[in-house]
Subunit: 139 residues, 2 copies
DNA sequence: GAAAAATGTTTTATATCATAACATTATTGC
DNA sequence: GCAATAATGTTATGATATAAAACATTTTTC
């Protein structure tokens, strides 16, 4: 029905997000917060606007999200001394522990998705096809 | 990055929807409205709540959407005499013409997506994989 | 016929997303 | 060096999407 590719994409995405949200409800973590923590853990020191742009979040809307992570003691803003306008983002010690737990819980979710797809090969094929749709704006 | 399957799905879906929205901006038609018109055209006479449920729209939110289509003279509510609580939905004559135009414009969009994917075979493979993710709630 | 359920509707709350304006700091052009 | 411009984070605001609760009307159930 409907836009076929577009419609199926939307339905599948909603299903997967629903599973994701359910999986992380116990950790009180939403998808956007998950992504931000994952990026900070992977490449600490990035500026707010850099991370916001990576994720397609407007920097205005990033402020409240980061406020939340800071208030929970998971991440922190540090004044970058090379550019005192910007804040470089880092995990706290508690944030590091949280991210390790997060990765374990995430694997749970991802394995469920792979199982639904029928295996890792199918997952890879799906990722490949999705990349072709995204491609115009880079990987 | 991020949830891999979930994150890529979301990005791809946003890209495709962006193209869809751009394609239909000239017709002042949003994805949800498109889907509703497509369903009414395909199976006229369904009740509001039936169509709403098909599309995963809460029937409360369906009201304003249908109001808009009615105000534009594209679709109409008819009192079903078998059940006078419900409204069965139909296209107007203008709605029929509009849907024909809509289908042509949609093909434009869909062909662009198929081209990005690398052909109809890849499109079919993608649909097949997405169906596996949706499966739990039926096709 | 009374109790319960279905249907459409209104109202309200919440979350998401985009835009504009602003203060502070860096950069650029002269 | 200084003025104009741009970048960064922030606040405020509006638009849109989504969900939930309450209600009137009608149908179904027992």
């Amino acid at each position: 029905m409907s836009t076929i590719v577009g419609y199926k994409l939307r339905r599948a995405q909603l299903h997967v997000f629903q599973d994701f949200i359910g999986t992380f409800s116990k950790m009180k973590l939403r998808p956007a917060e998950f992504s931000v923590l994952a990026i900070i853990a992977n490449t600490p020191g990035l500026k707010q606007s850099e991370i916001a742009e990576m994720l397609g979040i407007k920097r205005a809307n990033f402020v409240a999200l980061m406020d939340g992570l800071e208030k929970r003691g998971l991440a922190e803003r540090r004044k970058a001394d090379t550019d005192r306008r910007s804040h470089s983002l880092h995990l706290t010690a508690e944030g590091e522990r949280f991210v390790r737990k997060m990765a374990a819980v995430w694997a749970e979710h991802e394995n469920r998705m792979i199982e639904r797809l029928g295996g890792a090969r199918e997952r890879d094929r799906l990722i490949g096809l999705l990349d072709r749709l995204i491609e115009p704006a880079g990987q």
